[in-house]
């Protein structure tokens, strides 16, 4: 199966095993590839995946209602649902939705934090307030998530307004891909920032999904 980043950004994704799965992961399109990689590596055949469009991240107020609508739509078909989002700018609203429906979610403020490991990210936070983060997905979708929404395609002079206080771009690499490394460095150059590549792997996403998968058996 070929996944399109554009579809993950705009449309989301629905992978349904046809009624055999007992666990549904409702996730963000920005981490769909990573969830599928973990599912394949661990043989979680009892897991379905439904992803909301990743671009919801540019409107965080829409995330909690969209997740809740999907929980309501899908819950009758599954033993358990796991929400593969962190807080993601919802200001606790997503956590409230999950509690209301008795559903677990990923701990932490956002994917930059859980990829690095929430504990480690929090320890570093004070020293990295001037860091701008990109993940594998965001490097691939840099124009859709950063460049165009900030109007930099039309008004590159606004770079200073957005990024004057940033010093460096940290590329949190989930996998080793030299082409992504090159593209991430180009993104840093376009924003006028120093560049650092940091291999994080899947971080807390792996442990959170393993716990959800384990709770529903294999």
């Amino acid at each position: 199966m070929t996944l399109s980043d554009r579809d993950l950004t705009e449309e989301g994704l629905s992978l349904d095993a046809g009624g055999a799965a007992r666990l549904l992961v409702i996730g963000c399109g920005a981490i769909a590839r990573e969830i599928l990689a973990l599912k394949a590596a661990n043989g979680w055949t009892h897991m379905d995946l439904a992803c909301l469009p990743a671009i919801l991240h540019n409107h965080p107020d829409r995330i909690a209602p969209a997740v809740e609508a999907m929980i309501k739509e899908k819950s009758a078909r599954y033993e358990a649902i796991f929400v593969a989002y962190a807080d993601c700018g919802t200001g606790g609203l997503l956590e409230e939705v999950c509690k209301r429906h008795g559903v677990e979610m990923i701990a932490g403020p956002h994917c930059y934090s859980f990829y690095e490991g929430n504990t480690r990210f929090a320890e570093r936070a004070a020293d990295e307030i001037d860091s701008f983060y990109l993940t594998d997905f965001l490097v691939r979708q840099f124009d859709a998530f950063v460049w165009r929404p900030l109007g930099l395609d039309r008004h590159p002079e606004l770079i200073h307004s957005y990024f004057a206080h940033y010093r460096r771009l940290v590329y949190q690499a989930q996998v080793d891909d030299p082409a992504l490394d090159v593209k991430a460095e180009e993104c840093a150059t376009r924003l006028g920032l120093a560049y650092e590549r940091r291999k994080t792997g899947y971080g807390d996403l792996a442990t959170a999904l393993a716990a959800a998968a384990g709770a529903t058996g294999t």
Binding site: D87, I129, L158, S161
Partner: protein, 234 residues
């Protein structure tokens, strides 16, 4: 029709047309045109305060309303703000000379751990436009920085901004410290930032959450008026 024939000569417009055109130019983020318009109105004998309120602030209010309603987005607001800044730079020294009304003094800054200042800068600009004196502490402010500035500036209002859910709780640290020092009631505390809401503002003990720059201005005016009424009654 050629482009040349389409060009609008600002100096040929009457006052009403010029102000309307400046609203349009502000909306389109045309800084040079705004600067030219401000200079024309001043040359025609307008008071700096009248230029500020009728040409710039009211134009920026239209921009703010359309941002609130999802018609304009952050890049367009930034361009409009940049254009308004150009006009303000001409007016500011003249406003000081001509004794424009002073509404009160605000110390504003982004909280510790946070470097985002787009919203805070818009609030600063609109507060200045509404006649407030603004002391902008910039980004990444500790509780000590806020408290020292409030005291040194003899401020009426404290404004705190945060963009991150991880940094917004620091606002409570500042308010709690003001309470501990018995100084909380000396200041009107306004908070804002994308992840905040009214409930958060209440929970941390702020006087008000302001969802955008226009609301911040109106809220500040209301609280200052109440403060004056209390003083008059007392």
């Amino acid at each position: 029709m050629s482009d040349e024939e389409d060009d609008i000569i600002l100096s040929e417009l009457d006052n009403e047309e010029l102000v309307q055109q400046m609203h349009d130019d502000l909306y389109d983020g045309l800084r040079e045109e705004i600067e030219e318009g401000v200079n024309i109105l001043l040359e025609r004998g307008w008071q700096p305060y009248q230029v500020l309120t009728e040409a710039l602030v009211s134009g920026m209010t239209i921009v703010g309303n359309d941002f609130r309603d999802g018609i304009l987005f952050v890049p367009e607001v930034l361009l409009a703000a940049n254009a308004m800044k150009g006009g303000m730079a001409i007016l500011k020294p003249l406003l000081a000379e001509t004794g424009a009304p002073r509404m009160g003094k605000m110390v504003i800054g982004t909280v510790k751990g946070d470097i985002h200042d787009i919203g805070k800068n818009l609030v600063s600009m609109m507060m200045e436009g509404a006649g407030f004196e603004v002391v902008d502490l910039g980004i990444n402010n500790s509780v000590d920085a806020y408290l020292e500035a409030l005291e040194a500036e003899d401020a009426d209002i404290l404004g705190m901004s945060a963009l991150l859910t991880t940094t917004m709780p620091y606002m409570k640290v500042v308010i709690d410290t003001l309470n501990e020092k018995g100084k909380r009631d000396d200041y009107i505390v306004l908070v804002g930032g994308a992840p905040l809401n009214e409930e958060f503002g209440r929970a941390i003990g702020a006087d008000a959450y302001c969802r955008d720059a226009a609301v911040a201005v109106e809220t500040a005016k209301d609280f200052i008026a109440r403060k004056h009424n209390q003083m008059a009654a007392g």
